[in-house]
């Protein structure tokens, strides 16, 4: 009976989240599609044709998995960060806090909402990319697992950002100053193998490198010397640690209860 109640609460939060990003699709689904088409045209077709091959693949083939992953990362993160923060800002988060919902259910509802938007945008970008290149799909399970874990990790990251944020500016600082640089330097546009040794080693500290490479391996069957097992382990580890931290924040009421 209790689990039935919790399931209903979870579905309610999830549906509310999905409805939110579908209702404002010109802000949530359209812009990443346009941005990625521009990336495909400029980096793939215009500049890519001059770059030639990267790790034995055409530049367009090489760059597309990274661009899909980039859109999944930013959209999963932004969805949870903006949605949870606006709940805080409007104080409608109190509706959740007074209700008999375990913290894990609240977290799961928001995270799955973020994952859904990340995957929805990823799917749209994937469809658009087919106009520019082919995606062979080397291993569907690794592809799915990599994109799913990445969306979960960044949804959790967005949740933490929203909890700490006091004003709307605070939810754009992390994506602008941390997420975007890490993504751009995470092997989306180039192979780490072409970097000097020092920068190659530095790049290994960037978790996005593992995510992009695991996904690229799932699609092309190639990674830049990154172990897929290690990449999955890192992703699962991040998901576990961030989940625990989010639950800790909810339990203590950080940013939510005085």
């Amino acid at each position: 009976m209790m689990w039935q109640q919790y399931w209903t609460a979870f579905v309610t939060i999830y549906i509310r989240e999905v409805r939110r990003f579908l209702r404002i699709w010109p802000q949530t689904l359209l812009p990443p599609a346009i941005t990625m088409v521009l990336y495909f045209i400029i980096f793939g077709s215009v500049i890519g044709s001059r770059i030639g091959q990267m790790e034995g693949y055409s530049y367009m083939e090489y760059v597309v998995p990274g661009l899909i992953m980039m859109s999944v990362i930013t959209n999963a993160y932004n969805n949870v960060a903006s949605s949870f923060f606006s709940n805080k800002f409007q104080r409608s988060v109190e509706e959740l806090l007074v209700a008999p919902i375990p913290n894990s259910i609240i977290l799961a509802g928001f995270v799955l909402g973020g994952v859904t938007r990340g995957l929805a945008v990823g799917f749209i970008v994937t469809l658009l990319s087919l106009a520019f290149t082919t995606l062979p799909i080397h291993n569907i399970w690794i592809t799915i697992l990599a994109v799913l874990l990445t969306a979960i990790v960044f949804s959790l990251g967005g949740f933490i950002n929203a909890i700490y944020a006091d004003k709307f500016d605070d939810i754009s600082i992390i994506p602008t100053f941390i997420l975007t640089p890490l993504t751009y330097l995470g092997g989306v546009f180039y192979s780490v193998n072409i970097l000097p040794d020092f920068w190659g080693y530095i790049s290994l500290a960037n978790p996005i490198l593992y995510m992009v490479n695991a996904f690229r391996y799932g699609i092309l069957g190639h990674s830049d010397g990154i172990s897929i097992g290690l990449a999955m382990l890192i992703l699962a580890g991040f998901a576990a640690v961030l989940s625990y931290y989010c639950l800790y924040l909810l339990r203590t009421g950080k940013g939510l209860r005085h």
């Binding site: 039935q4 109640q5 919790y6 399931w7 209903t8 609460a9 579905v11 309610t12 939060i13 509310r16 606006s86 709940n87 409007q90 104080r91 409608s92 109190e94 509706e95 959740l96 806090l97 007074v98 209700a99 008999p100 919902i101 375990p102 203590t252 009421g253 209860r257 005085h258």
Partner: protein
């Protein structure tokens, strides 16, 4: 009768060092209509916030229908409905969706949530606005929406934090009728308000908090009995004489047709009317100069300040 709410030695110190609650204890019986009063910053909203899990207490115990808030938070929350002071719903959601979503948070299946939303939208006069974005509702409608939302899971204990603030008198009175109706149906109600007339009219028991301490906790009748002196204003249809002596009463003329008289709580109003009749004064109306509860409230808070 069971105890709906039991608060024991509740303390709250905010991170800035402000001691909002300094060990308050009181109980509310099931079925009661209970007033929690106090001046601004007294600790009322902090107390309500702690009861509703929106504020972390520093120490103390909160029990709702016998269950400890710390040990069984979700069981306790099931019984609680809360109407906060400020609007706290998503301004971009439709009125109906706010209620259905809230019901979902309490695990109520969608079909039943829709039926309940319809019931409370009708009861609170919001049915015609069900498809409107909540931000487009008037202030009074938003207040009613928050009451409907708090009732959607049919709680046993309803807490209202200044529910009629900024609401016009007609709507306020219709809300009083509604609250009395649901109280008669068995819902225990705790009300905070700055309209002391409202508390006097609706509530059977009362607690007054000031500077984080409980300064009074008794029945409304017992509290009002402690009032020693009341001042009544009388309107006369006949012209008042230049001199009027009323034995045992202090008389003060206000104008040609009205005057005020101080009446001790041991004095008899019949005797006063007899004397007024003897002076051939025809009284058309009589009213308290000030709200009785207001006088007591001010005196209790003043005493607490002098401590």
């Amino acid at each position: 009768m069971a105890t709906a709410l039991e608060i024991t030695d509740l303390h709250k110190t905010y991170s800035n060092g402000h001691q909002a609650l300094k060990g308050i204890s009181f109980a509310v019986q099931e079925g009661d209509f209970f007033a929690l009063l106090g001046p601004n910053g007294a600790g009322k909203s902090t107390t309500i916030g702690i009861i509703c899990a929106l504020v972390n207490k520093t120490s103390g115990q909160v029990k709702i229908f016998g269950d400890d808030m710390d040990l069984s938070p979700n069981k306790v929350k099931q019984h609680l409905g809360m109407v906060p002071q400020e609007f706290n719903f998503n301004q971009f959601e439709k009125t109906e969706d706010i209620l259905i979503t809230q019901a979902g948070y309490y695990g109520i299946p969608h079909k039943e949530s829709v039926e309940r939303a319809e019931l409370y939208l009708h009861k609170l006069g919001l049915w015609d606005k069900r498809r409107e974005q909540s931000r487009l509702l008037s202030g009074g409608m938003k207040r009613r929406l928050m009451i409907a939302r708090a009732l959607i899971h049919q709680p046993k204990l309803l807490i209202l934090d200044e529910p009629t603030a900024g609401v016009d008198i007609e709507l306020r009175r219709s809300m009083w009728d509604f609250l009395q109706e649901i109280n008669q149906q068995g819902i225990t109600i705790i009300l905070t308000t700055h309209y002391l007339e409202e508390a006097e009219q609706l509530c059977r028991n009362i607690a007054i908090i000031d500077h984080g301490r409980l300064v009074q906790n008794t029945s409304m009748k017992a509290l009002l009995r402690t009032l020693h002196m009341q001042t009544f204003i009388f309107d006369s249809t006949t012209l008042l004489p230049d001199q009027l002596h009323l034995s045992g009463y202090t008389y003060r003329p206000l104008d040609d047709h009205s005057f005020e008289i101080d009446v001790d709580h041991e004095q008899d109003l019949n005797e006063l009317f007899n004397q007024l009749s003897a002076h051939k004064l025809s009284i058309s109306s009589m009213r308290n100069k000030a709200n009785r509860l207001e006088e007591l409230f001010v005196s209790l808070v003043d005493k607490n300040l002098q401590r």
